[in-house]
Amino acid sequence: MSAKEEILARITSALHDAPVPAPIPREYRKGSDMPRAELIELLVDRLEDYKAHVDVVEQEELPATIAERLRDAASYVVPHGIDEAWLADAALANDGRRRIDAPGAVLSVTDLDETGAVLTSSAVSIAESGTIVLDGTPSQGRRAISLVPDHHVCVVPVSSIVRLLPEALPRMDISRPLTWISGPSATSDIELERVEGVHGPRRLDVIIVKGL
């Protein structure tokens, strides 16, 4: 008997009393009608609690805000699908710091390690837990680019914010590689004292964009 056949036979034998479980009750909150302004306020509160820096801006302010957040970075990487208009600010245009990661022209891990920051968009955000989901589509890029650089600047369109996790999951394509981010890298392993920043990006700047 193969290991698989044997394990399945053991399970079947273990369940010979044919337990009939009760139906799964789903009485928990599945939806919410929180107004948009409150959703933004809740998400900002949660992200700041994780020690992320948050800007809430109008769409026309976005390029300048991005330029400001990336000002200190010696270099930064963007995924190939990022909206060019976001990078239109004069301070960013052609200043030689930008590196583009694209399928077929990916940056090596060493290149990424030497890159100061990364700019990505995001797929969906959950206000109640302060969670931003990246799904690897062209505006967010492959997982490594938002991991290795020490500083992550992440754009959150207001239309992608929901209050509850059960509202967010239907918006996720589960077959894509997903990264859920709730604040910068952190550890609580020494005396349960939270320290922000270990192996992932130590700095997380979130820009919430109204009208987007």
């Binding site: 290991a3 044997e6 009485e27 837990s129 991991l147 077959s175 709730s182 890298s185 920043g197």
Partner: protein
Amino acid sequence: MSNVFMGMPTLPVFGMGNLHIEEPFPAAAHRELGNTQMRANLRHATHTIRDKRLKVVAELPDWEELRDAGSATKNHVMANLPALLEEFEKNFTARGGTIHWARDAHEANKIVADLIREQGTTEVVKVKSMATQEIGLNEYLEERGISAFETDLAELIVQLGHDKPSHILVPAIHKNRTEVRDIFLKEMPNVDPDLTDEPRKLAMAARAHLRRKFLSAKVAVSGANFALADSGTLAVVESEGNGRMCLTLPETLITVMGIEKLLPGKEDLEVFMQLLPRSSTGERMNPYTSLWTGVTEGDGPQNVHLILLDNGRTAALADKYGRTALNCIRCSACMNVCPVYERTGGHAYGSTYPGPIGAILSPLLTGIKSEENSSLPYASSLCGACYDACPVKINIPEILVHLRGEDVDSKRGAKKLPSQMDLMMKGASWAFSSGKHLALLEKGLPLGKLAAGRDKKIKALPGIAAGWTQSRDMLAPPTQSFRDWWKKDHTPVAPTHKQEN
């Protein structure tokens, strides 16, 4: 193969590896109780985390409804495990992943070692994982010339300190910052000799130490928190980003997961990803969760393997009163509220799984007849705090009592001589059968004084009663019994009748 049960039930096949304790719990606990530094560290840590947990749980108006859904989902998974496993395998394989099945720890270890050798490397990076701890993977690999580097900060502290984990979530919970600094100074190459004990500085030392390993590793080994049957998706929940490093950068990813970790589908994540972070670290959400479905071209490892591990899980499943222990999502809320764990620490439980869940899970995986683990179900005051804290409502006290019964039953008839307990019960039966017998026995009370010290306390009772004085002193009995006192000091008076009108 068919999942319809036909024929004789197979005998339960128990697990092996780091599940057996080396000495019975009472002896180990007695030694650990003397470690006052460990007790102080542990008290601070468990109280911090339980307060945080209560605060974030109170924020959710539907916490009890989430627990009900989580508990029912897990019961559903266990009842339908063969079909869900087959469904998961089909979907994971269709997306370019490879599934292996392992009957026990040895088989799982061998599969991992062979996969690593195929890649021509002798170094792997590891994400903290209970399953690989349970099967003793690091030790197995080391014996075969493969170095496994733990990348979670707490696991790194334990590994560099040549120590054992003592908590399932915060394995170095028994160490304070000064002890951690001392370990780093002694064991970490190229560490700054002026390293202070500030947690931030220590975390940065770990970052520098592991950075090159992450960027150059060819193979990573992980566990998994959840597996979704209907899509073939795996999930790892973590905080530091070390998990993301291991799951994303190497070319080969090998995951070891217990067969009980399945969930039917995506919708179930909405329950468990609310229950788990709040119960474990007392956070609204852990900093990073990674989900991957087989192989994605151009993103992450292109050579992806999953080992589905039994190692006693089917034996636990066969215990119809104990099987809900498999519903455990390894959040560790039970140990953070347990008065016994808080005092003895995790090492006293011997197994990879300490605390209340360990006291039921370890004997279920190894069998209660496993000599050493039979003492674990007694490592509890049955106060029920663990049941209240459990996000999937595992009735730990009930299972503890059930396993105590199993232990007593398994030993019944094996004894030839009457035990001390039998003799004591026989004696008590005689003493309480008549007032005269009791009076006779009470004449011996003054003898108690001899057993007590000058402080009138008895510090060690003999035989089976020694358990009582192991962790407490007993007052010496009075020199005189109540009956004697009554006789001597109480002059009988004729009853008086009050006049009432």
